[in-house]
Amino acid sequence: MLLSDPQWLPQLLADLKLVMPEVILVVTMCMVLIVPFFKKGNVVLPVFVSMFGLLMALLYTQGIHLGVMDADRTGQVFTNTLAIDPFSSFFKTMLMIFAMLIIVQWTLFGREKTHALDAPDFLCLLLGATFGMCLMASANNLIMIFIATESASIPSYALAGFRKKNRMATEGSLKYVLFGSVSSAVMIYGMSMIYGVSGSLQLSHIAGSINQMGMTPLMVVGLVGMFAGFAFKLSAVPMHFWCPDVFEGAPTEVTTFLSVASKSAAVCMLARVMQNLGTIVIDEQVLIGIALGVGALGAVTATWGNLVALHQTNLKRLLAYSSISHAGYMIMGCAVLLLVDPKLILSALLFYVLVYMFMNLGAFTIAAVFERQLGTLNISDYAGLLKKSPVLAILLIVFMLSLFGMPGLGGFMGKLFLGVGLVKAGTLGTVLLGVLLLNTLFSLWYYLRPCYFMVFATPDTQKQLPVIQPLRPALWAILAVCCIMLLWTGLLPAITSDIAQDNGRMIVSSAKRQIALESEHTSTVPKRVVFTVAQ
């Protein structure tokens, strides 16, 4: 966007229309911060405001999506730094729904006195993180990736340490922030390398430059650095160490939010990068190489996550490792984006994220209930829980089985779609599919652990667990929604998969600018030479 362009103002306005949801989120953030000045110590008002803001953003997203707001349904705004396309819109929709559910969950769980005072802060941070994640889903440019990642991360750090007096939360957030800042620094350094090689921050141009120059070592270093940053957000191995600690320490709502939203946003970001590479890069070898690298990352992550999860005794840590392995599955999907018809994978990823959202939300909600009411997250303490609160136990089993991938529940369909995508990707895909399925086998063991204790084990008579108080209806509603969604996506996946299918499209801007630059560069050959020598 050049100010010299006489059309800049109309262009800006047109672009703003397309990023209206994000704008609304920012405005809502501000409003939530302002609200306490008028009515201090009230929970309802900021919650209402933020919910309203999210709802509006949601409607706007849908509006954009449906082409009601603008004739041009999709587009790339702010000089192509953001891509507003079906994929991102669909993801944003899910994200906002999820954020609303999280807010509901948080509001209902709050019993402490500080709750009311904290509400605006919490909501503001949550909205901020949501905003960042929305940007992540659309980021089409290294700057935007950087901004989006940071604006998603920074509130998350604060969220993770939101229980200020809680030592575990504090420790978790410390780890999170240190780890996050280190990896974002690495990512940025990698980006600088990429920029140095390709001369552009635009993903499509970077891909174009790979076409022209091949995979130079510098580019490899740059990409590895950048993917390291992604890996942090995805909690891929070996950047996963923060994940269980943060998840255990943070309030459960935050954990839920981080496990689903932050990871899936990162998956979207990774998918977009891969999609750009896959669409533009011509060299088959390069594509396979990148796919192999990313696929290996995914495979290692999934396997590692599952294996470590086998030993977890804490429900939240177990779910944390489970989320690591699920991230691994999704990374595998992203990896083969380079090799097959992207629509298949993108829609599979969307479906997976959708299902993953509900099953994790459900599982963590129940974990939160247990944590608050039973005062323990130790799985072996849940012995005989089926008798005491059968519905909760059965629901947890349902969520666990869905996470495992039991047919009839959404998790299986997610894996099936992913598998369908993987298998199309030749040998690499088949190997990844094998890894995925083998992991499914491993994972059964630990997903059944809570079931085992709740259903089979006889409770320890020494330990008297408190009786679970009746839950608030809205909480039941959340659980019911999760369960119904899982059954629905598992048994009648047609509608959902069709929607995912329709939205499994990404806009990839052409590499034309690169070609234009090419002609410009003809005059600056010496520099080019200098640079090549510099390598």
């Binding site: 780890f179 294996l307 977890q312």
Partner: protein
């Protein structure tokens, strides 16, 4: 008009055939009906009348069979088949060949039907007396009738498959009957042993059937309209034989495999050990199942498959027969248990029959089957009477002089002893056993003559046994009925058996006499079946003599007199107990060894126990071990690996980081406070690992790019 008459004649024949078929079917099914009725109504309604009921039904069955036999024989009818499809065997698209159940009727069938039903009737009657007071009285008749049904099923079988079915069913009923007193350990083990050994033979049968099925195709399954499946096989084989010079290997194998079924059922060497043990069952059972009918089924089978046996297979059959014949007769000489003597005698006689079939004198073998059925059944019944009266004391060492107490039983036993010994003068005898055994030996003579060399054993073997048989029979007769009582107490309590037991004995003894060829046309009846048994086209079959020379005078003369001589010797030796025998044992060198061997049944039981039972159990234990530690172990190892990997990764995530932390701390402590600043914490280990991971990823990526 002419046409009408022809039609009438035809229908008459048809109707006649129909009648015979119906009669045979009724004769076969009635015992089953009786069995089922006794099973379900026995304990509640029939109670003590169960025996009478079963006898009546058996009587009707016998009447049917006799009627059918007379109709068939007098009408000079052609053999015919009646079949109902049972198991479909789909061969190709053009529909199913079937495994049929049904009926095949020829001279042999009707003859054996009459014999089986007749003997069964007598045994039923005998059992009414013998089993009186047993707490499972009704159940016994249920089993006995079921057995009769199964046996009739074998006799009427129209194909190998039906034969196999009933083959197994007689095995089952035999199992039940042997194990009738299952409270005791002996019957338990004996019935199991019998069944399993029979199954070994049956396996051979199945394999043989399979080979035939493969080589001859589905056609072997379809019985011809006027013949049994055996004819179809033979015909098919004949077609093939026409283009073959030598009998093919597979045919030999198939024949031997089928014969294995006979080995199992007829308790031939090497599967002979179950029969003596089977004497644990009630004596009526021994008399019908283990002497008269079931064990003879093997001979029947061998005779039926005679057309497809190749010369090599014949030789095999003969060898088996010969070994059994000689071995069993030697064991019969030393046993002191009266039933065991008879059991080994049965074995020996079965050996005769098998040898007869193998050497081509199968007509006499079948004849011997029938005569043997009568006299051996009678012998068993007599022994049963004695045992019953002697309070289940079976050991002959405690008998002696019982002829005075049980004259009728002694009479029957004596007649049968004479019969089995084959007493006769020249070529004439009043005892049927003389003719049948005579025929077999003549057959073996021809066969041995043809083979030459070592083949002469096939002649000398039976001849020697023909001397031994009267000896051991005389021994048992003398020990039981003659001399002085060796157990006075036992002797005092013995009295003549009740009428229900004595009458059947006498009838059977009479049968053993009157079934001589000059009274009843057995031989002729069986002769007719030759037409259906032997196929005309099979060249290598035609070389075998199927018809013994009757006019050889010298041999019968020899046997008839020699039998009488040996009989006398036996009676002389054992009339006064074991004294003379023991003296002989001491004096004659080597006899003692032979005696011990024979007494221990040539150690076959031990051998089998070690080599088969123990080995199988050992195998089973090994398999179980493998299962627990091998296959399951593999699974567990896989599980452990996973767990181990999980432990490793988990440990990496937790312990290694800790280890790094603690290790560094320890070294720091060791190095003193100066190094404290370099002690890493958990977060820094995380971050370090991040960088390590990054470096590894970089290297991996570089390798990917550069090559």
């Amino acid at each position: 008009m002419h046409t009408l008459i022809t039609l009438a004649q035809l229908t008459a024949v048809e109707a006649d055939q129909e009648t015979v078929r119906k009669l045979l079917v009724w004769a076969t099914l009635l015992p089953l009906v009786s069995s089922i009725m006794v099973l379900f109504l026995g304990t509640r309604y029939l109670k003590k009348q169960a025996g009478t009921f079963a006898c009546v039904v058996m009587g009707i069955s016998f009447a049917c069979a006799i009627l059918a036999a007379f109709k068939f024989t007098s009408g000079n009818m052609e053999s015919f088949t009646w079949k109902i499809p049972w198991i479909p065997i789909y061969m190709g698209k053009d529909g199913a060949s079937w495994l049929y159940l049904g009926l095949f009727c020829d001279q042999l069938t009707v003859a054996l039907m009459a014999m089986v039903t007749g003997i069964s009737l007598l045994v039923h009657i005998y059992s009414v007396g013998y089993m009186e007071g047993d707490k499972r009285y009704e159940r016994f008749f249920c089993y006995l009738s079921a057995f009769t049904f199964s046996m009739l099923g074998i006799v009427t079988a129209n194909g190998l498959m039906q034969l196999f079915v009933f083959w197994e069913l007689v095995g089952l009923t035999s199992y039940l009957l042997i194990g009738f007193w299952f409270e005791k350990k002996g019957p338990q083990l004996a019935c199991k042993k019998a069944f399993v050994m029979n199954r070994v033979g049956d396996t051979g049968f199945l394999i043989g059937f399979g080979i035939l099925f493969v080589q001859l195709g589905g056609k072997v399954l379809v019985p011809a309209a006027d013949g049994s499946m055996f004819d179809a096989i033979a015909a098919e084989l004949g077609g093939k034989a026409a283009i073959m010079e030598h009998p093919p290997m597979w045919l030999t194998v198939a024949g031997i495999c089928l014969f294995f079924g006979a080995i199992g059922k007829s308790a031939q060497f090497p599967l002979h050990t179950w029969l003596p043990d089977a004497m644990e069952g009630p004596t009526p059972v021994s008399s019908i199942v283990h002497s008269a009918t079931m064990v003879a089924a093997g001979v029947y089978l061998t005779a039926r498959i005679f057309p497809i046996l190749t010369p090599a297979a014949h030789l095999f059959v003969c060898i088996i027969g010969l070994i059994t014949l000689v071995m069993a007769s030697m064991m019969a000489m030393v046993m002191t248990d009266i039933k065991r003597v008879l059991a080994y005698s049965t074995l020996s006689q079965l050996g005769y029959m098998i040898l007869g079939v193998g050497s081509g004198a199968y007509i006499f073998a079948l004849f011997h089957l029938i005569t043997h059925a009568f006299f051996k059944c009678c012998l068993f019944q007599c022994s049963g009477s004695v045992i019953n009266m002697a309070h289940h004391q079976q050991d002959m060492r405690y008998y002696g002089g019982l002829a005075k107490k049980m004259p009728l039983t002694a009479l029957a036993y004596g007649i049968c002893t004479l019969t089995i010994s084959g007493i006769g003068i020249g070529s004439f005898s009043i005892f049927s056993g003389f003719y049948s055994k005579d025929g077999i030996i003549l057959g073996t003579y021809n066969y041995a003559h043809e083979l030459g060399g070592l083949g002469s054993l096939f002649f000398w073997g039976p001849v020697i046994v023909a001397y031994i048989t009267p000896f051991y029979m005389a021994r048992s007769f003398a020990l039981t009925f003659l001399g002085k009582p060796r157990d006075q107490h036992l002797y005092d309590h013995v009295k003549e058996a009740p009428k229900t037991m004595v009458v059947p004995q006498l009838i059977l003894a009479l049968c053993a006499i009157i079934s001589v060829p000059w009274l009843l046309p057995w031989e002729q009846m069986i002769e007719v079946t030759r037409e259906t048994l032997v196929n005309k086209n099979v060249t290598w079959i035609q070389g075998i003599p199927t018809h013994a020379e009757h006019h050889h005078i010298a041999l019968p003369l020899l046997f008839g007199l020699a039998g009488a001589l040996m009989l006398a010797v036996g009676i002389w030796m054992y009339k006064d107990g074991f004294g003379k025998a023991e003296y002989l044992l001491k004096k004659v060198p080597g006899l003692k060894l032979l005696y011990t061997w024979a007494l221990n049944k040539f150690y076959f039981d031990h051998l089998y126990d070690v080599f088969f039972v123990k080995m199988t159990k050992c195998f089973a234990a090994i398999c179980n071990f493998i299962d627990k530690w091998g296959f399951d172990g593999l699974v567990n190892v896989a599980g452990h690996w996973t767990k181990g990997l999980a432990w490793f990764t988990g440990a990496f995530d937790n312990k290694v980081v800790d280890g790094l932390v603690n290790g560094a701390a320890n070294s720091a402590r060791a190095g003193g406070q100066a190094l404290r600043t370099t002690q890493p914490g958990r977060i820094r280990v995380y971050v370090s690992l991040l960088f390590v991971g990054l470096v590894i990823a970089l290297m991996f990526a570089m390798t990917l790019v550069t090559g």
